[in-house]
């Protein structure tokens, strides 16, 4: 039972991470022209990457942190209802999930960010998505 649950939870996590990837990717696409323009204006790749990291890694950090806190809160409430308030806090579990989500999220930002920054300035004169 618990193994089946873990498999389903894993599916949700994979979907969640893919969705995060799609959204970040789409964000990068909509910013292609802005980035090309910034490059033409002389902004260094390092600065552009640093902006992306501040933005996306900041969101990832706060959201996954709050998600972990929310899950602890929910598990506490459920333990009050189901197990007469006996709640076991295991610090390894939330830390592990937080680190894993951050690692995957940062990898997505790094890969997609570098790809978007590498876009040629010619994109400014192209009329397509």
């Amino acid at each position: 039972m618990s193994q089946a649950l873990l498999v389903m939870a894993l599916l949700s996590v994979i979907v969640g991470l893919m969705v995060i990837g799609f959204i970040i990717n789409h964000q990068m696409l909509t910013r292609e022209k802005d980035m090309a323009l910034e490059k033409m204006l002389g902004l260094s790749t390092r600065s552009m990457m640093s902006r992306l990291r501040f933005e996306f890694i900041g969101i990832l950090f706060i959201a996954s942190g709050l998600g972990v806190i929310g899950s602890l809160l929910m598990s506490y409430l459920l333990s009050v209802v189901l197990f007469d308030g006996l709640w076991a806090f295991d610090p390894i579990l939330p830390t592990l999930s937080f680190v894993m989500i951050m690692l995957v999220g940062v990898s997505i930002v790094e890969v997609l960010g570098r790809k978007a920054i590498a876009t040629e300035a010619a994109v400014l004169f192209r009329d397509a998505d």
Partner: protein, 703 residues
């Protein structure tokens, strides 16, 4: 023409199309796998329901079934043939270890449908030689656990039985007790020879009926209803379809819950789809305005967008169904642990209709307000508001889907409530934070730029934030709940938790058991009397639920809960696992010799809530036909996971002391060697007493 235009749109925007289809595919994958798996299991159970029951109609009871019971059925079906069987818990010992077993005995030729497949490649009923009174067939788990081989002799009850074969496949294997008490087949004469049935033994008596060809009792609800009404509530009537429900129930609960977890994936994917489509429409705004300018009406624009979206959803859904079918293999092996039958590749149409409906309707409901908004923008009717109903359609659809998947208002409500509460808290809070950070002056230009970008593209920021938030929540919540469960049943106060739980201890064995305990220097604790009874009325109102109508999971549970017999006990005070919640303690020993005045009773608080009881309520029970009244004087909480003998209803001392009863008891903390030795010694001295190794039960629950 519009359909062709929509198809071309997919080709023109391959990246968007790919992401959209992938979102639908992954969002639906869990639901597809779980629903199609549930469908296949249901189809399999339906096609083999007669084999699962073993008869066309079966009577079962905790009390011995008599000729008068059989005659009731024969009144309706004169040509019916009938055979009996019984189940009883017992102990056996071999190679210095003992185990709890479930003994099944059946008259030769029973079951009428379905067969036992034996290791000797014979079948029963069929070419297998029927069991003699000194022979047994055993389940392979028992053979493995105790290292028993064919030809070995097993002591059961007061006799020894020779193992003549091993059961390889049993369609009527018990799902609940299979791992804790493996089954042993004996003949009816063997049960008598072993003197297994004593007063208070936990015996399940069954009589199965075979009807002439063509009679299908499940189809005649009125007749079935009349037969049911001919029996009192101690006799249960099962038909092939009710047995199929019974067998499928465990898996249905698992499937319902897993289905709900799969909805988390659908919810997350919907966040992605919403964002993707919104961005796409924004990108296409100029094209739509141009199309309108050259003559395309608003209705056609809307249709174009709807066709485009439906085509993409269809691709995603069909891909998801294909991948879901691939996942059926691992799910089938999971089902094998729960089901007594092998799952054949029978096709079930219903789940695919559901997935197709969800796969197409969900993105549609989600996107309709966006499509309307885009069409207003293209036709320069910016001021026109999107109807509230359009925004409410998807949440409503998702709520209905949650209920349909979980089959429970409570579980679906908790699930949706959790999502909504977090949304209601997070969205305004994030908007506030984003407003605040847009005004913050920071020196680092890159950081300042990032903050401004996040606050200006707030919809995108919110989407990413919520996707990560729910992803993190689900990722951590389920393992955390598992840790709680493990902690609750395996770690909590091991000094209080017993090692061995005894049941079926006879009244005259209690003193001997105490002597055995003190001689062996083993801690015998919690000796508790147990009296079988039936709750007849609450405050003079009859207590019964009709199970024939269509019920939700909660209603099904409630009906089973109400219609079953109850175990009562009596005590002078609360035990270590109980706490007084409301009311007062017992006033002492019951004194009324006429037994007409109600005795004091203590009720477990959740049981009291389910029955809607209040302090002062009068409950009437029937113990072997004798009415006994009790007045509720307190509610108490019970920590069931201490594995101490506990009861929902406890009477004060004095009224039930002379009632026919058996006892439950426990042995406290023991090392595993002592535990094994104790079980063997117990079996030698008290062969009818059944012992459950609590460590093994815990292992079974947490794995």
């Amino acid at each position: 023409m519009i359909l062709r235009l929509a198809a071309r749109e997919i080709k023109n925007h391959p990246r968007f199309s790919f992401f959209f289809v992938l979102s639908v595919l992954l969002g639906l994958l869990g639901l597809t796998a779980i629903e199609s798996f549930k469908g296949v299991v249901q189809t399999n159970l339906q096609s083999r329901s007669k084999e699962l029951l073993g008869a066309d109609l079966e009577l079962s009871s905790r009390f011995a079934l008599e000729d008068r019971h059989v005659k009731i059925v024969e009144q309706y079906f004169e040509d019916a043939t009938h055979l009996s069987s019984l189940d009883i818990f017992s102990m056996t010992s071999f190679n210095g270890a003992s185990r709890l077993i479930q003994v099944r005995a059946q008259e030769n030729g029973y079951p009428f449908y379905g067969k036992l497949l034996l290791r000797s490649n014979t079948q029963y009923p069929g070419d297998a030689t029927p069991l003699a009174d000194n022979e047994a067939w055993i389940y392979p788990e028992l053979a493995t656990q105790l290292n028993i081989k064919i030809g070995d002799e097993l002591p059961i009850g007061e006799a020894v039985f020779k193992v003549v074969d091993i059961v390889e496949r049993d369609i009527q294997q018990s799902m609940q007790t299979g791992a804790i008490a493996p089954r042993v087949y004996l003949s009816m004469d063997g049960v008598k020879r072993g003197e297994l049935i004593k007063f208070g033994s936990t015996v399940g008596y069954k009589v199965g009926f075979k009807f002439p060809e063509g009679v299908q009792i499940d189809k005649d609800k009125d007749l079935l209803d009349r037969i049911k009404k001919s029996f009192d509530s101690t006799v249960r009537i099962s038909t092939p379809s009710s047995e199929e429900d019974q067998v499928g129930r465990t898996l249905a609960y698992l499937g319902d819950f897993l289905g709900l977890v799969s909805l988390v994936a659908l919810f997350l994917a919907s966040v992605g789809i919403l964002y993707l489509f919104q961005a796409h429409l924004r990108h296409k705004a100029a094209d739509f305005a141009t199309l309108h300018a050259i003559g395309m009406e608003r209705g056609k624009l809307v249709r174009f967008m709807l066709y485009h979206l439906s085509l993409l959803s269809m691709f995603g859904t069909v891909s998801s169904i294909t991948f879901g079918l691939i996942l059926m293999g691992p799910l089938k092996s999971l089902a094998f642990q729960f089901l007594p039958i092998e799952i054949d590749n029978l096709f079930s149409f219903k789940p695919f209709v559901l997935v197709l409906l969800v796969g197409i309707a969900s993105p549609l409901f989600l996107s309709i307000p966006l499509i309307l908004k885009a069409s207003y923008l293209a036709t320069r009717k910016n001021a026109q508001k999107v109807p509230v109903l359009a925004w409410a359609a998807w949440p409503l659809f998702f709520a209905i889907l949650s209920f349909y998947v979980s089959k429970s208002f409570l579980v679906a409500g908790a699930f949706l409530g959790g999502i909504i509460i977090f949304l209601l808290v997070l969205i305004p809070l994030l908007r506030l934070c984003l407003n605040f950070i847009s005004k913050v002056k920071v020196k680092n230009i890159n950081l300042r730029h990032a903050l401004l970008r996040s606050s200006r593209t707030w919809a995108a920021t919110l989407s990413i934030f919520l996707a990560v938030f729910y992803c993190s929540l689900v990722f951590n919540l389920i393992p955390q709940l598992r840790t709680n469960l493990e902690n609750e049943i395996s770690v909590a106060n091991p000094n209080v938790r017993p090692s061995i739980f005894l049941f079926d201890v006879q009244d005259d064995q209690v003193e001997d058991l105490k002597v055995f305990s003190s001689q062996s220097n083993l801690p015998l604790t919690n000796i508790s009397p147990m009296v079988r009874a039936r709750l007849v009325s609450i405050n003079d109102e009859k207590y019964e639920i009709d199970t024939d109508q269509k019920l939700t999971r909660e209603e099904e549970r409630n009906a089973r809960f109400r219609n079953r017999g109850m175990n009562l006990s009596y005590a002078s005070q609360l035990n270590a696992s109980e706490k007084l919640v409301e009311g007062r303690e017992f006033s002492g020993v019951y004194q009324d010799e006429s037994m007409e005045s109600p005795a004091e009773i203590s009720i477990e608080q959740r049981f009291a809530t389910r029955l809607g009881l209040n302090i002062g309520d009068i409950l009437e029970f029937e113990i072997l036909g004798m009415p006994i009244k009790g007045k509720v004087v307190n509610f108490r909480s019970v920590r069931w996971t201490t594995f101490m003998p506990n009861f929902f209803i406890v009477f004060q001392e004095g009224i039930l002391n002379d009632a026919p009863k058996t006892f439950l008891a426990t042995f406290g903390q023991l090392s595993s060697q002592l535990k094994d030795k104790l079980q063997v010694d117990l079996f030698k001295k008290f062969p009818n007493v059944s012992a459950v190794d609590i460590g093994r039960v815990i292992e079974r629950i947490v794995v």
